[in-house]
């Protein structure tokens, strides 16, 4: 084998290793990493938003309402559910679990909240919904029409729900509800106010949302 053949062979090996490293890391970054990063948990009770939405008079606000002082109630407390579910309604397994494990024992349901922001974020529903006239779908998507709850994915590192970063691991969102990062706030604020600056560049800006 001539020297040049040997050189070619050697560079082939190097290229091969480069490609192996390259492809391996792509697989790791795009496929294995997201699987490792998030743990999956089922909600404690199977819940059907669509079914409830048909029964209530006031849409989402029937259960996710604003309190008298303007604060937002978020996920309903057991007391609200009990108003209708004191006794089981129907015979579904979920209903029985709910009534026996929670209603009968007076235990709050430990719902896993997809849209819960980490603690350093302050968000006012009143400012967005009451004053800004935003609808729920803009941020929360069509969850109100869903018939089941998807598994809750929790970031093992930060403990934050996957829905904040968004399902797409590259952070690409197509719809306004695909993710809930600061860049999403920013985008919407720019679009709706027509200003090419966001709230972040105003006075005391950071402290509006990061108390």
């Amino acid at each position: 084998m001539s020297d040049s053949d040997e050189k070619n062979g050697q560079s082939g090996i190097i290229t091969l290793f480069f490609i192996l490293g390259f492809i391996g890391s792509l697989l790791l970054g795009w496929i294995i990493f997201p699987e490792l990063l998030y743990s999956k948990k089922e909600q404690p009770v199977a819940f059907n938003h669509a079914l409830h939405n048909e029964e209530v008079a006031n849409g989402c606000e029937s259960c996710h309402f604003f309190r008298e002082d303007g604060t937002f109630s978020g996920v309903p407390k057991l007391a609200q559910c009990v108003e209708c579910h004191e006794e089981p309604i129907g015979v579904s397994e979920a209903e029985l679990t709910f009534v026996t494990d929670y209603v009968a024992k007076g235990r709050e349901v430990p719902w896993l909240i997809y849209s819960k922001q980490p603690d350093m974020v302050f968000f006012s529903h009143a400012a967005h919904v009451k004053m800004g006239k935003q609808d729920c779908v803009t941020c929360h998507g069509h969850i109100g029409e869903s018939t089941s709850l998807k598994p809750y994915e929790e970031n093992r590192f930060t403990g934050v729900s996957r829905d904040i970063w968004g399902g797409n691991i590259a952070g690409i969102s197509m719809d306004s509800w695909d993710s809930m990062k600061m860049s999403d706030c920013d985008k919407c604020h720019k679009e709706l106010t027509g200003r090419q600056t966001s709230v972040q560049t105003q006075r005391d800006a950071c402290f509006v949302c990061h108390k």
């Binding site: 040997e6 062979g9 050697q10 082939g12 090996i13 190097i14 290229t15 091969l16 290793f17 480069f18 490609i19 192996l20 490293g21 390259f22 492809i23 391996g24 890391s25 792509l26 790791l28 970054g29 795009w30 990493f33 997201p34 990063l37 309190r67 002082d69 604060t71 109630s73 978020g74 407390k77 980490p118 603690d119 350093m120 970031n155 590192f157 930060t158 403990g159 934050v160 970063w165 691991i169 590259a170 952070g171």
Partner: protein, 728 residues
């Protein structure tokens, strides 16, 4: 062709290039920033509905209304209740820090405990309530069987309200008169009022809100005296209406600093100063003739004060110039609604009868007793009307014995409680031994002067039990602890606000379910009573404390429940008072300690930032204390630069403080705000109970001072002690 180092390098480079175009590094970078801004170990308050519940603060005798801010069921802040007439929305540091006394779990007694180690070792075992009550029933039952009912004693901060009355009733049904309330300046005033008006058990109050001249003899009006928040408001109101506050005190306290006039009087001569002012008022005929005409004994009083207390005569001993005494007395007498007030510091020592009488006479001379802006005589609330009960033979026999503290009989028949005699009585087996002691809402091991003696007395009592919610010093020295709920967990009627003029009842109520396995002391008493004997059970017809409370409050319950308090703001005291001026006054006892050996005078110093009552200062409050009071864990005592110079002491440096009662290591703080020859020592520090956030900070001043018996009332007349200070 072989795989070598370069191949691996190529693999690495390929991996790095590949990784850069995956989300992995970017996502992890983002996650790290989220993670580092939300450390997982940082507690995150739970979200929920904001709601408020009105109640009453029972952390001191102020009786303030509070509004507890809650998130769902969790109290998160204590605010002042705007509607409450005493504090009108204001709150003090202690009240504000009250949640630490709820949640501070290392301070709380979390279940009934029985001592297993040596007294004071802190070794207890957890027992059930059933066992705890059985234990009490057996111990107390055995005492009764031996016909020694009278050897049971009880120490409590109050005798008022339903719980205290249940304990008092239990003591009587059991056969003991030894219910002993902790002292306050009001005890001595009560004695002075009895002496001058014949009214017994008068509740003395001061109408500061309507006064335009407040003359205070060492009262820490802004240091926790009376109802502290009310006093802050009254002081602001006085400033707004350009009234005058004159403060006679050896040290530049907050009150003195805020006063219009500060009279740096030699400690212990306040009564002389007050009588001297009486002499000036009489001599200048500035007294209220309407009042004095209706009163008796003015002539005798005149000759007594003019002979003994002419300003020129006492200027030297008091350290206040005769012209200053004359000027202040004149402006006081000429004010429209002047009021004189006593009760040193936060007012938790009675002081001498001489001092109280001097103040009462000063008020009488200007004719302000029961008048707008003056000193009012009100009476104890009388809504507790329980059926009579029949004592059995054991209790009848027990009730025939005198009280262990010598109060209510013999020489001190007019004094209701004499806790200052308790330790001596126990140690000297005065008439009979104390076989059992119950402690409710009190921490005598910490608050009583001469801690060493108190400790010895406790060691001698065979059975000590405490109802304390906290592992305080007394609880540590108890054999059994039956922890009460804390004030945010229980119902309790509070029928007083120290020094407040209008009838007032506050209702403290549970704003949170009990956090631990504690029980309302009212319930404990009812349960014990029902099991000790039929006759005692007969005195307690109620199912439980809440039933008793509701029945007792009757028609008032609904309003108390909805509003948190009831008051009659239109109340005015009876306008006529049968007043007799005294014509001779016994001298107050001399300060303890040999002047030759102890060159200085130690006085305790109160501060609104340090609670010195039966509840320890919560850590939030201690955080606000200056490093001239507490530096790291060292207490600082105040001395004048002249004192420091003569003793060779340097600012903030360590020194040894010694009194006839004990010795302590301190640091000195050199300040012009204290008279030469006086050492000011902060009160409320030096706990050895509680957790490490409270304990071992400074020294308890009570370990260095003693009590002195007033010759007429028997009450503790001590205001300080002789001391010496030397460089460490």
């Amino acid at each position: 062709m072989k795989i070598d180092r370069r191949s691996f390098l190529a693999f690495g480079v390929g991996g790095a290039v590949g990784t850069a175009i995956t989300p992995l590094p970017w996502k992890l970078m983002d996650d790290s920033s989220i993670w580092s801004q939300n450390w997982p170990w940082t507690p995150v308050p739970l979200d929920g509905a904001i709601n408020y519940q009105p109640s009453v603060c029972t952390l001191c005798k102020g009786g303030c209304g509070i509004n507890v801010r809650k998130i769902d069921d969790r109290p998160v802040k204590i605010e002042g209740l705007k509607a409450n007439p005493i504090n009108k929305g204001g709150i003090c540091l202690l009240g504000l820090s009250g949640l630490q006394l709820l949640y501070g779990e290392d301070n709380r007694v979390k279940s009934p405990l029985k001592r297993v180690g040596k007294r004071g070792s802190g070794k207890f075992k957890k027992i059930s309530w059933q066992q705890a009550i059985t234990e009490m029933v057996e111990k107390l039952g055995a005492i009764r069987l031996k016909a020694q009912s009278h050897t049971l004693a009880c120490i409590s901060e109050t005798e008022l309200g339903t719980t205290a009355s249940l304990i008092g009733r239990f003591m009587t049904a059991f056969g003991s008169k030894n219910y002993i309330r902790t002292p306050s300046f009001l005890d001595s005033l009560e004695a002075a009022i009895l002496k001058t008006t014949g009214t017994s058990a008068a509740q003395v109050a001061f109408d500061f809100e309507n006064s335009d001249y407040i003359l205070s003899f060492g009262s820490g009006l802004l240091e926790g005296w009376g109802s502290p928040v009310r006093m802050f408001m009254a002081n602001s109101a006085l400033e707004d209406k350009k009234g005058t506050l004159a403060q006679a005190e050896p040290r530049l306290s907050n009150t003195a600093a805020k006063a219009d006039k500060w009279l740096p009087v030699n400690p212990g001569t306040e009564a002389d100063l007050a009588f001297s002012m009486c002499a000036v008022i009489i001599q200048k005929a500035l007294y209220n003739t309407n009042f004095t005409a209706a009163a008796t004994g003015l002539e005798g009083f005149k000759s007594f004060v003019t002979a003994n207390y002419a300003p020129e005569k006492i200027a030297k001993s008091t350290g206040i110039k005769a012209e200053v005494i004359t000027r202040i007395a004149t402006s006081f007498a000429k004010a429209k609604n002047p009021v004189a007030v006593c009760g040193k510091g936060s007012g938790d020592t009675p002081g001498s009868l001489k001092e109280s009488l001097a103040i009462v006479c000063l008020n009488a001379l200007v004719g302000n007793i029961n008048k707008k802006g003056g000193l009012w005589l009100t009476s104890e609330p009388d809504y507790i009307k329980w059926p009579e009960f029949i004592n059995d033979d054991a209790s009848t026999a027990g009730l025939q014995k005198n009280r262990i503290d010598s109060a209510q009989s013999g020489k001190y028949k007019d004094t209701r409680f004499l806790l200052n005699n308790f330790a001596d009585a126990v140690l000297d087996d005065y008439e009979y031994p104390v076989n059992a002691l119950m402690v409710y809402r009190a921490n005598p091991m910490y608050t009583m002067p001469d801690s060493e003696k108190v400790k010895k007395a406790f060691e001698k009592i065979p059975f000590v039990m405490s109802f304390s919610s906290y592992m305080d010093e007394t609880a540590l020295y108890s054999d059994l602890i039956l922890p009460d709920h804390v004030f945010l967990e229980r119902y309790e009627d509070i029928p007083f606000a120290s020094g407040y003029t209008k009838p007032y009842i506050g209702l403290a109520r549970p704003v949170v379910d009990p956090l631990f396995d504690t029980m309302n002391t009212g319930d404990v008493i009812i349960q014990i009573a029902k099991r000790i004997s039929n006759s005692i059970a007969g005195a307690f017809p109620w199912k439980d404390y809440e039933t008793c409370l509701k029945e007792t409050l009757g028609s008032m319950w609904a309003q108390l429940e909805s509003q948190g308090f009831m008051t009659d703001q239109s109340y005015t005291p009876p306008s006529t008072v049968n007043f007799t001026f005294p014509d001779k006054i016994a001298d107050a006892p001399a300060i303890e300690g040999d002047r030759g050996k102890y060159l200085l005078t130690l006085v305790p110093v109160d501060s609104i930032r340090i609670n010195c009552g039966y509840i320890a200062n919560p850590p939030f409050a201690t955080k606000t204390v200056d490093d001239t009071v507490l530096f790291e864990n060292d207490i600082l005592v105040e001395i004048n630069p002249a004192t420091a110079k003569s003793l060779g002491l340097r600012d903030r440096k360590k020194a040894v403080l010694e009194t006839p009662k004990g010795k302590a290591s301190v640091r000195v703080f050199i300040t012009d705000g204290i008279m030469p020859g006086v050492v000011g020592m902060p009160k409320g520090l030096g706990h050895f109970g509680y957790d490490s956030y409270i304990a071992d900070k400074g020294v308890n001043v009570n370990a260095l001072i003693g009590s002195l018996e007033d010759p007429e009332t028997g009450l503790d007349a001590a205001w300080g002690i002789r001391a010496k200070l030397s460089p460490a």
